[in-house]
C-alpha cells in the first residue's frame, strides 16, 4: 500500500526547488502532495497533526536555508517550533521518522528530488500510520 506524504514547501525556496526538479526532468515519488506556504514558519503544529488525522503517513516541511529566508527570521522560528513538536511527538510515542524538516534552496532541484525519495522510502519502511490515528481520546471510556 503506497504511503501518503504531505510536503509543506516554502514558496520562495523549496517550492521553486520542486519546480526546478520538475523542469529538469528529475522524478520523485508521486505520493508526495505539495502544499505551498508563504514561509516554513507558516506551518502551524496543527497543520501537521491534522494532516496525520486525515490520513497522511508522513509530513515533511521544507524551507530556505538559515539566513536565506525571504522574511529573514522565518526559518529560525520554524526550526525552534518544529524541533519542539518533533521531540514532543517522540515523547508521546509516535514514530519520529514520520516527520522531517529540511532546508532546500531554489537552486537545489536535485536535492529536493533526493530528499523526497529518501523520505518516502523511510516512511514506507514504517508502513501505514496507525499510531497517530488511534491516539483517540475515547472521551468517556467506561469506569474502571
Amino acid at each position: 500500500m503506497s504511503v501518503k506524504i504531505v510536503a509543506f514547501c516554502c514558496n520562495w525556496c523549496s517550492y521553486a526547488g520542486a519546480d526546478l526538479a520538475g523542469t529538469s526532468r528529475l522524478n520523485y515519488p508521486a505520493q508526495v502532495k505539495i502544499i505551498r506556504v508563504p514561509c516554513s514558519c507558516r506551518v502551524d503544529v496543527q497543520f501537521i497533526l491534522r494532516a496525520f488525522v486525515r490520513g497522511a503517513d508522513g509530513v515533511i516541511v521544507c524551507g530556505c536555508h538559515l539566513g536565506d529566508c525571504h522574511y529573514s527570521t522565518g526559518n529560525y522560528h520554524a526550526e525552534g517550533r518544529l524541533t519542539q513538536l518533533f521531540s514532543l511527538l517522540d515523547f508521546m510515542g509516535f514514530e519520529r521518522e514520520r516527520v522531517h524538516l529540511e532546508w532546500i534552496s531554489a537552486a537545489e532541484g536535485a536535492k529536493f528530488a533526493a530528499t523526497m525519495d529518501a523520505f518516502v522510502t523511510q516512511v514506507s519502511a514504517l508502513g501505514k500510520n496507525e499510531r497517530y490515528r488511534n491516539m483517540y481520546t475515547k472521551a468517556g471510556a467506561q469506569n474502571e
Binding site: V53, R54, K138, A139, G140, Q142, N143, E144
Partner: protein, 323 residues
C-alpha cells in the same frame, strides 16, 4: 410476591461474577466506593454515532447507527447512581423516546450494592436517598460476613436463575438481615421553592466568580443529560459524512450561542443555569431535584465549588452551617 433473599459466603462472590461473565459482559465490581465516572456513559456515551449519510446519485442515503442491544451487567452500582439512572430514564424514556438510550437501557442488568458508610463528600441522605436501600434489578449487600442477593425486578429474577446453584435460600426473618442504614450526617439540601426568586437572587453575582466553567462537574454528574449533535466528513472518504452525538455542558460559551447573540452572554448566566436546572427546573418538570448527592462534582471540581454550598447560599443560610 416479594422474591426470596439469597445468600452466599463472601469468598464465592467472585464465582458468582464469573458465572454471569460467561453469559454477558460485566462491568464494575462490589468495590470499596463509587466509581470516578458515573454509569451514565453506559446509556448515553460521551461520543456516539447517530447516523451516516452517503451522497448517491445526487441524493443523501441515510443509514442510522444500529441500536446496541447486546445485554450487559453493571455491578456494584450505588444507591445514588441507581436513582440517577431512574432520573435519566424519566428524561429519555418518555415521549419522544430516544431509541439508542432505550436499546442500551433494556439490555442492561443493574446490580446495586448497599453502602454501609457515607463517603467523605457523599450527601445522598440530604436529597432523601437511602444509601442502604438502592433500587436496581438486583440489590446486594454484605452483613456480618455473608453476602446477600435480592432480585427486585423481573430482569433481576432472570439473572438470579443463572446463579441458583451458587446461592442458598434464606428464610426471610424480619429485617435484622437487612443492611444497616448509615447515620444521617448532614442536613437536608435546601431546595429553593420559588423559581423566580432563586433566579433573581443577588448571590449569583459573587458566587459564580470562582467557577472556571470547565464542564468537569457536568461530565461526571450521573444525571447531567445535555448533549450536542454535530455533523462532519469521514476522514477516509469525504463523500460520506457521519453525525455524532457527544456530551455537552451548559457551562460552555457556545452552548446557547446563536447567530444574532447569546441569551446567556457571560459565565454568571451559565453558572446559574447549571444549578437552576439541577435544583429547580428539574424539580418543576419531573417533581424531583436532579441531584442524587453522589458528591462527584464536590470531589473533582478544580476550584472546590460545589452544589451543597450553592444550595445553602441560595437559601440564604450561612455557608458553614456544619463545617
Amino acid at each position: 410476591m416479594q422474591s426470596p433473599v439469597y445468600t452466599c459466603s463472601l469468598d464465592n462472590v467472585t464465582q458468582l461474577i464469573n458465572r454471569i461473565a460467561e453469559k454477558m459482559p460485566v462491568y464494575g465490581d462490589f468495590g470499596s466506593s463509587k466509581t470516578t465516572l458515573s454509569p451514565k456513559g453506559f446509556f448515553l456515551p460521551a461520543l456516539e454515532k447517530l447516523y451516516e449519510t452517503a451522497k448517491i446519485n445526487d441524493s443523501y442515503k441515510i443509514t442510522p447507527a444500529p441500536p446496541e442491544n447486546a445485554p450487559f451487567v453493571l455491578l456494584g452500582i450505588r444507591a445514588c447512581d441507581a436513582a440517577a439512572i431512574e432520573i435519566l430514564d424519566g428524561v429519555y424514556l418518555n415521549d419522544p423516546i430516544d431509541p439508542q438510550y432505550k436499546a442500551r437501557r433494556h439490555a442492561s442488568y443493574i446490580v446495586t450494592f448497599a453502602c454501609e458508610t457515607m463517603g467523605a463528600n457523599c450527601f445522598c441522605q440530604s436529597v432523601n436517598i437511602n444509601p442502604a436501600a438502592p433500587k436496581g434489578d438486583v440489590k446486594a449487600w454484605v452483613k456480618n460476613g455473608t453476602f446477600f442477593w435480592l432480585a427486585q425486578s423481573e430482569k433481576g429474577e432472570r439473572l438470579t436463575e443463572l446463579l441458583l446453584d451458587l446461592l442458598e435460600r434464606t428464610i426471610p426473618a424480619g429485617n435484622d438481615l437487612l443492611p444497616v442504614e448509615p447515620p444521617d450526617s448532614a442536613p437536608a439540601l435546601p431546595l429553593p421553592a420559588d423559581m423566580l426568586s432563586a433566579f433573581n437572587a443577588p448571590v449569583w453575582d459573587n458566587l459564580h466568580r470562582a467557577c472556571i466553567a470547565c464542564g468537569t462537574c457536568t461530565f461526571l454528574c450521573p444525571t447531567c443529560q445535555c448533549y450536542d449533535i454535530s455533523s462532519h466528513e469521514c476522514t477516509e472518504n469525504s463523500e460520506k459524512t457521519h453525525c455524532t452525538r457527544q456530551w455537552d455542558a451548559c457551562l460552555y460559551p457556545g452552548f446557547t450561542q446563536m447567530a444574532h447573540g447569546n441569551p446567556r452572554p457571560s459565565k454568571k448566566e451559565r453558572f446559574r443555569q447549571r444549578f437552576m436546572h439541577k435544583l429547580v427546573y428539574h424539580m418543576q418538570k419531573y417533581g424531583t431535584s436532579a441531584c442524587v448527592g453522589c458528591g462527584r462534582c464536590v470531589n473533582k471540581c478544580p476550584v472546590n465549588m460545589n452544589i451543597v454550598k450553592v444550595a445553602h447560599v441560595l437559601a440564604q443560610e450561612e455557608v458553614n452551617a456544619y463545617v
